[in-house]
Structures are given as C-alpha cells and as structure tokens.
Amino acid sequence: MPDRTLLPRNVPVQLIDAAGTEHPDEVYPTASPAVLTEGYRSLVISRRVNDQCYSLVRQGRLAVYPSSQGQEACQVAAVSVLDDGDWLFPTYRDSVAVMLRGVAPADAMTLLKGDWHCGYNPHEFRVAPQSTPLATQLLHAVGFAHAAVLKGEPTVVVALCGEGATSEGDFHEAMNFAAVFHLPVVFFVQNNRFAISVPLSRQSAAESLAHKAVGYGMPGEQVDGNDLAALLAVLGSAVDRARAGGGPSLVEAHTYRMQAHTNADDDTRYRDSAEVQEWVARDPLVRLRSYLRGKDALDDTTEAAFAAEADEVAATLRTALNADIAPDAAELFRHVYATSTPQLEEQWASLQGELERSAEGTTP
C-alpha cells in the first residue's frame, strides 16, 4: 500500500490570503503577530534590495541581476526556519536569502558584480556558494547532510532550486539519495512559473512538483509562496521533521517571477503583461502588511523604522557597489590549488611582467 500521508494537499497551504485575511489551518499554525512583524521587516528590506539592485544593474554596477522580486516571502522563510548551525544551499536567484543569512549586502552581490565567483566564506555563514549550474547544488546539500548524520551532528540543510531545475537529472538523484539515506534535507522549490522563457507546463506534466516527492518515498507539500505565514509553517514543520530524524521532504512554493529572468532578458517575448499584473495583486508584502495592521501589530512608527532600515541597507549596497575597487590579478592564480604549482607561478610572473611594462608605458 502506498503511504498516502506522503502526498501533498491538492491545494497549496495558505494561511493569509491576498487580501490579508487569515484562514486558520488545523495542521499548520499561524505564527504570532510578533514573529510575523519581524518577518515583515525582512520582507521590506528584501524588496528594497531587489529594487536597489535593479537600479544598480541598469547603471552597470552589477554585471547581471536575477531578481527575486515577488519571491521575497520565499527568501525570508528559507532563512527564518534555519538554526544558526544549519546550512543553506542557494542559487543565483537567492542573493537576498544569502544576505538575510548575515552576509554583508555587498559580499552577497560579489558574484553578480563580477569581482569574484563567491564573495563570502561559506563556513562563516553556513551558506554554500550560490550555484548557477542548475540543480547541481542539491546533491551537495545531500552530501552535506549525509556527513552531518555520519558525524552525529544535528544540522538540517535547506536546498533551494527553481521549478525549471527540477527537470535536471541531478534533482532526481538528490531526492533519491536523500530518501534512501533518510537525510535531514528540505528541498525547497520556488516555482515562479518561468524558467527564463519556458513555462511550467514544459517542465513537468505532474499534478504538482510536490507530488514528485512520493515517488522517492518522502513527503511533499505545496504552499502559497507569497504567504509568509504559510511558508514559515510548512518549511518550519519540514525542518522540524528533518531535525527529529524524520528524513527529507520536498516543499513547492507557488510564486511568480515579477521581473524578467535577468536584466538581459526580454520577457515581453514570451508572456503577457496582464499575467504579471494578476500577480501584483498577490504581492507578499501587501497582504502581510494588511494582516498585521488588522491585528494592530504594525503601526506607522514601526513601518517608518523598517523603511529607514531598508534605506540604510540600500545605501550601504550603493556605496559598496559604486566604489571602483581595482581588481587584483594575483587572485586569479592564488586559489586554484591549495599549493600553487610551478606552472601557475610562471604564468603569474609573466602576467606581472606585462602589467609592469604597461604601467611604465613600454608595451609595444
């Protein structure tokens, strides 16, 4: 007999609807207004960072920006459910989550600015490098969790990917490993409906992506990805389950990519602006704000404080990204191996010679 309890609900879990009305759930509790107000603060900062980066990429201060605008509730929830010792395995679209984990805003943007590939020490923040090759990081997450189990550590790993990435073989291998070895991993799919131009229907014919979990022998759940309360409840319970030795699970968040894939993309070629407009009405910030206002948990003073804090983060980011730091060519050779090689030393010396000659203006 298949275990029916592994199946996700047919309708995504929602605790606060788009109008800000609460729908209490018998399985998933709504967090306290205090917790949600703190969550709202993170949402405000996250939105501000997305807006700021959108400007910075247009000014040429970032090489590229894959925005998480509209997906901020997912970014905030993925980080909120982690304990300090837990690990996050993010993608290129999750810079905001990386920042919320404590990485300085400018260091979270190093990859997208183009100074280096990863601007933070993963061990310091318990955040793996943002991964661009789709779904590959899910296997790293699985191995990390496996090591934690072998070492007897209570670490839980949250692994992020988009719905497009679920088509890659690595996604399936990761799910299977996690289930077979009963590992403390939560696979968190942000289904934002588009993989660059390709719609969800071209990635999967399944009833939902969360339904895929049952085939591997782990539970799946679907959740409204623009409802922070629901995300905290569903992801929180998946993390609790993993920590208690209950094994992996898959959470699919239904959300929407409000902007083009990156600044380099032209989304008018493949989607209607009417569709985008529909999702404006489901904005994660608007609904939580109206819920908290209704609960008298959010007043003008608090809101102004959040806005000021968000402005400060944006200003920090601007200052850091507007600074022209001379790139250090030595870095190119310094980290390739733990111990450099004679060949790399020779190549670095030859580049140094070139740089010295051009500084002296003696280049042919």
């Binding site: 100074d115 590939h117 131009s197 070629r269 493949y270 790139p327 042919p364």
Partner: protein, 338 residues
C-alpha cells in the same frame, strides 16, 4: 586588412551583410526548409528564439514540431537526439552555454561519439550539437568556458568553430547535412560581428583556410582568436613584419595539409587560443607542427593561450584573455636574430 579567401563572396545575387547570429539563424532556417527530417530543439529556443536569438522566428515559421523548447535537461536533450537520429531524423540541438553542456557529457562521449563505431557503421548519428562557447562577454561564472579540448579529445566527434558569418553559415549547413555528429562551437563574442554572407557558398568540414598571406611567421587561430590574429598581423605589418594567418575552422578532424604548408612557407608558428593552454587544442596544434615541420622551423612553436585557471570573473577577464600584445610578444620571441 586583406583577407585572402577562395570562397570570398562577390557582392551580387545571394550575398548579404549579416551578423554571425543572423547567419546561423539563416542556416538553420534554410536547412529546416530544405529537409523535413531536420528538427531543432533545446532550452528557450522557441518563443524566446534562444538567449542569443539564434533560433529567432523558427518556431513561428516552421511550427512546434520542427522547433521546440524542451525541459531543462541537457542529458535529456542530447540523449533524445540520439534516439531521434536512430529513428531517421536529423536533430540540431542547442546547449545554452558552454558550461551548461556538461550534464550531457556522458551522452556525448559514451553514445554520440561512439555509436557509428559500436555498430560497425550500421547506426550513424547525424546530430549537430550547437554550443555558444568562450568568453569576452563579461559573463559570470559558467558562461565563458572554452570547452573544445573535451570534445576534440573524443574520437568520433567532428568539432567545428567558425570565426566569421560566412563560415558560420556554410559550416552549419554542412554540419546539418553531415553523416556524423558535429559539435558546433559558436564564439559568442563574435555573434554580433558582421560580414558578407553568400548563401550559395559552401564550406568543407575538415578544411582550414589561410585568411591572410604573410611570409615571416604563421599565426594559427580558430573561433574567438582569429580576429586577434588578424589584428596582430595588421599591427606587425606596421612594424615591417609579415604575418600569415590560418583559421582552422574545423578543429577535428585536423587539416594537417593546410597547416603544414603554411608553416613550412614561413618557418615560424604561433598558435593562439583562448582556452587554458595545458593539454589543449593549441597544444595539439603545436605538437603536430613540431613533429611534421621540424626541419622547416627556425624557432620552437609558441602558444598564446588562456592561463591554466578557471575562467576569470567579469572584472578580471581582461587579464585572462589572450590579446594582440601577447601575440606580438610571442612573435618577437621566435629567434629573429641572424
């Protein structure tokens, strides 16, 4: 700059000025129109027309059955191309970027490259795998790899890398008609460079071309390094040194005859490529010249390549990429005294 090209089109009927991107698009359209066994598929190649717009308009013109988006799964794309080719179609697939072709590596190496040999020729695979390759576009990591060495090292693969719109057009058409699998490397930084294209002109896979005559030394280049070689030859000419330039066009199988003749005529050779130099295409070219042209050489063959490091991030890219100065330095080192 003088370009000596036997197939240089004359302006007239069938000759247009096109970017390489437009030339590739045209080649795909012309083959789709000419042969209904041709199917084009990959990621974002339908409505979007590909992230580089190489397949722009093809789905609208030829329909979803001939040109379609797939799920994001490179092993799936190449693996299913094998099955399609076994069943009589001629798949042309796109890998979105060089480094995103790696999930398909097993299919490429274990099946695409070997099927003809395994089946004693009973199953040939007329597949084209198009891969935008190399850097120079300020891309973040995994968007600028020069991955040609992996492919040229694999027996059974034919590997092509055009450097101009005409060759891009002619070689892609030829590749689609080719009986065996072709890895078609498209230098993305040259996608928008324009040139004249004669759609009636044909190219031969497996033939290199002398694109500039010269008598003092031979520069051997392909894909992204050809414009650098030509620019270096211009600069050298201003200093009174006459450099010949060979565009390999096909990396494997290798056109020894053209390269041997060119190098023997000058006695000096510099190979230019963007990929890391160790165990690279450039190494193979240098080794072949050393073995086959030793008695004609006045100096050891030099390589100007990328450093042996992962591709640099955008802000450091300019340190990494071979440029004209590096080429001229290498030329200067070719034992000119006496």
């Amino acid at each position: 700059m003088t370009m000596l090209r036997e197939d240089q089109p004359q302006v007239g009927a069938g000759v247009e000025t096109l970017s390489m991107a437009a030339a590739l698009n045209r080649a795909l359209a012309d083959e789709l129109a000419a042969d209904d066994r041709v199917v084009v598929f990959g990621e974002d190649i339908g409505a979007l027309g590909g992230v580089f717009r190489i397949t722009d308009g093809l789905t609208a013109r030829f329909g979803e059955k001939r040109c379609f988006d797939t799920p994001i799964a490179e092993a799936g794309i190449v693996g299913s191309a094998v099955g399609m080719a076994m069943n009589g179609l001629r798949p042309v697939v796109e890998m979105q970027f060089d480094a995103f072709a790696y999930p398909a590596f097993e299919q490429v190496v274990s099946h695409v490259a070997k099927m003809g040999n395994r089946t004693r020729g009973a199953v040939r695979l007329p597949i084209v795998i198009r891969i935008p390759y190399a850097g120079g576009i300020g891309g973040v990591e995994h968007h600028c790899d020069s991955s040609e060495a992996y492919y040229v090292h694999t027996p059974g693969l034919t590997v092509v890398a055009p450097s101009n719109p005409q060759d891009a057009y002619s070689l892609l058409r030829e590749a689609i008609r080719f009986p065996d699998p072709v890895i078609f490397l498209e230098p993305k930084k040259l996608y928008w460079a324009k040139g004249s294209v004669d759609v009636s002109s044909t190219a031969t896979i497996g033939s290199a071309q002398v694109v500039r005559e010269g008598t003092d030394a031979t520069l051997i280049a392909y894909g992204t390094s050809v414009p650098i070689a030509l620019e270096a030859a211009d600069a050298a000419a201003a200093e009174g040194r006459s450099l010949q330039v060979v565009d390999l066009r096909t990396l494997s199988p290798f056109d020894d005859a053209t390269v041997d003749a060119a190098v023997r005529s000058t006695g000096r050779a510099v190979v230019i490529a963007e990929a890391p130099g160790f165990a690279s295409m450039a190494s193979e070219v240098a080794a072949r010249i050393s073995e086959r042209c030793f008695s004609w050489l006045e100096a050891p063959v030099r390589r100007v390549t990328g450093f042996d490091i992962p591709y640099a991030p955008p802000k450091l890219e300019h340190f990494y990429l071979p440029d004209v100065d590096r080429v001229l330095d290498a030329v200067d080192s070719l034992y000119w005294e006496d």
